[in-house]
Symmetry: D2
Subunit: 284 residues, 4 copies
């Protein structure tokens, strides 16, 4: 895969943004490999993502950022530029359920996810062997129900130590404390096993069975302090019938969870997701 | 289409129900054209639907009911037998939105819905011409916001007068009073323009836009006194993106509403839906 | 809906196209409402669609075209600019099957399709009443199996007379002659009732039943001289089972046909479809 | 999971089959846990599947078969009875592609597939470590392109030695010889990476890209001597766009292949699939 710089920006909409950005790129000989934009008529906000062939520019990543800063300032942009040669560092967190973790590890192993996975953290030791088969360090950090703080302190320490920039809650069944949610805003991805906002909280498949719905779903979202209420990245559903008891719904739902989580993570890794007002713009 | 008797029953599960029912049919020379059954392990309840070729039995509908009564009693069945030669009488109720009504009228006209539509009732006069083109009487029954009772009285009168056994709320935007809901339990079908239980109540597409979901849906359900909380018959969804403002969601959602409502009504007309504990068993 | 100019172009890919186009627009004060681009790495071809707020430019449509011509020439573009204030003129052609025609007429009536429908042409008289209820002229042009040329001559004459720029074959069961296909290349849209390239030609649902497939589909494509082999605009499928005989497949398939045809036509009307090498780029 | 006897039968349709079968079961005190039937009006054939709670009958599997034989004979049934306590023995065959194999092994490990997997056979050694991590023997049986017979002889020997009753071609890229296909008719399951009958044979994703289709699919089928033409068990599709080059289609298609193959195998393991006239009846 050819090396790319990925410019992602959001700013109040006005005339000339695309022109200014594309001019900047072409005036330095830059070749645009992909570009997306969106003007939100409700909020009056403008969103853009541009992939530039890195070798077509006479810049290092830092030089490119410096050169672009004046434009960004003049349009009051929230922005970042990432280098595809520096893949994100993603810590996976799990509990006892294997399906999402196994799926992400398989995709990582097969080269479908462009990232580094420096370690896996779990509050149980059940999945150690599977993780270690992939040559990934496994940290068993138990949770003491009476006092969960030591667990979260150790999780924080590991995130820092491994210099992770992304955390994936692959059916990690604990609620992260406020300070971690805030410190890593838009960097923590969760999979919830329902079609949110229906059936937030515990045991969503049992809630769904109770209500008698005809489709069950899963939702991938960024974690915020409000439980299961962060910006939604992706969702999907699958059909069930009156024959499906909660156990069967759990089995069918697992496939949806895996699909939605891996898709959402992939978009995150490729800098395709922008967040504004607790909603996402996904350039996929 | 060959004439059929449709036997539909529910009872506490125990050994020998299928045998007793199929024996009863075959001992009279009856030919089973289709049969479905379901044992619900959670509730311990048994559900069955059998289509019998009418001409293979030496019975009229009434004689068949009499002959089956002892079996039904011995198993404490809730049951009914319907005759495909006596299609249901369905009153459609609408307001100003044409899409669901137009779709149902088209399908009726094309022979896709096996029923009689004796009339359409609306609290507005907008859709009269479309309905009358199909040679169906159109009753404009205005709603006085200060006192809605006269409207509902007239609706009740029309249902009785036309001897309707089914009422379809095809985007009829009023909330039916308790007494009508009770009197016609499991006979009134509504389409709600969200994937329930998410976004019950008013303006569900705007609620969905506000929350930033990635799929929108529609739900077809039997009407009960609890708003948008009756037994769910069918649901479906369609994908949206950040580009879709509420107006676009309305347009995309209409197609889902039409699909789900017409499918649910079709199952109802064919006696494929059983209700137990606010949930449906759908033998489709 | 705010008036828009829609610029659509294709050319060999090279550095600076986006910049040149967006510069051109912004240098005249033009406001870009939407933009999409695609670089095809297989063919080395570049595709772009830009919607410009018409009132933000100091140009009439003709002036805009003149001003853009030098840029188009220098990049060897195939291009066009359309004005949303001049909706396309679409002739619908049908035979006896009502479902696609009824669906398009409903959507037209409801304002979902931004076009003019100057007339409907059919080789049968069956659908006249439905069309005329919509206040659209209906031309019954019979086909003589022994010599179809007079039919096609009259069809050609009507297309010219009504100054149509788009023709939709809404289950028109005749094969158009080569000269019409060539003259109206990329202007004639057909719906084929299978998931092409499977089951091209006659009676696709019966072919599908014969083969025992588990999904049936529909394909919307531009008509070329090669039967059912033109550039595919959109496709969709629906699930069937062993219970579905061909008649049932026909019924279920109709809903897919309607969905796919109306979606494809909508994209065509909004100038979202570019054709290259018998394949489409769809900016939706 | 409660132990079950699964009776599966097919015979010419006539009055009294259901009654005779259910009588037989209830007269011995048997409790029916699930039952499905289908009368095919095209072929005049009748299909049935009954799950009986094993402990409710006073029979061993062999005794049950003996007792049922007279009924089967009188109706000219093709039939079998399987015991859920004796799961099928499934050999997985692969080549170099890991995705389907990894998915089946994961599901097996997680208890989603009720079978024994006595070994994996591959013509390459690449996937050994993954298989052996699951404690399953791995047989690398190379293919000599000049003479493939020794390979197939060894495959046959292994199937016999391991007493397998089912073989799954999980992206095994060789064409099995006629004699193996015949000997194990309806016991060999293949996954083909296209929506058959489109794109049979080699490199289906490249064929699909060439044709410009908008959905790609996968097909799970029983293997017959005719390449990619056996009875279809299940199919599914996923949406692609003009942006997707063949490599991207391969990646997206893998998820569909995994879903369809695991679903089809699951149905096979639960005796839910009947084959008649190169088509399947799937009681799911």
């Amino acid at each position: 895969m050819e090396r790319r710089f990925r410019l992602v920006l959001a700013c109040p909409d006005r005339v000339g943004i695309v022109s200014m950005v594309s001019n900047f790129i072409s005036s330095h000989g830059g070749s645009i490999a992909d570009a997306n934009q969106h003007s939100d008529s409700t909020t009056g906000w403008f969103f853009m993502r541009v992939e530039i062939v890195a070798d077509s520019l006479p810049f290092s990543l830092e030089q490119l950022k410096s050169a672009f800063t004046p434009i960004a300032s003049s349009f009051e942009m929230t922005w970042q530029i990432n280098d595809s040669a520096e893949p994100k560092r993603v810590i996976l967190m799990a509990s006892r359920e294997a399906h999402c973790l196994a799926d992400l590890l398989y995709r990582y192993h097969a080269g479908e996810l462009d990232c580094e996975i420096p370690c896996v953290i779990s509050n149980h030791d059940d999945l150690r062997s599977m993780v270690e088969w992939h040559d990934i360090p496994y940290h068993h950090v138990p949770v003491n129900k009476a006092d969960k703080q030591p667990h979260f302190d150790e999780v924080s320490r590991l995130i820092r130590e491994y210099q992770a920039d992304t955390v994936v809650l692959a059916r990690y069944m604990q609620i992260l404390p406020e300070d971690i949610c805030q410190q890593y805003a838009r960097q923590i991805i969760n999979i919830h096993h329902s079609f949110l906002p229906s059936f937030a909280g515990a045991r969503p498949y049992h809630q769904a069975h109770e209500r008698g719905v005809k489709l069950i779903g899963a939702t991938c979202h960024y974690v915020t302090q409000d439980l299961d209420a962060g910006p939604i990245i992706d969702q999907d559903v699958t059909r069930i019938s009156h024959r499906d008891q909660p156990e069967e719904m759990v089995r069918l739902g697992k496939d949806v969870e895996k699909t939605v989580l891996s898709r959402g993570l992939r978009w995150h890794l490729e800098d395709r997701i922008l967040v504004h007002d607790n909603k996402t713009v996904v350039f996929n």
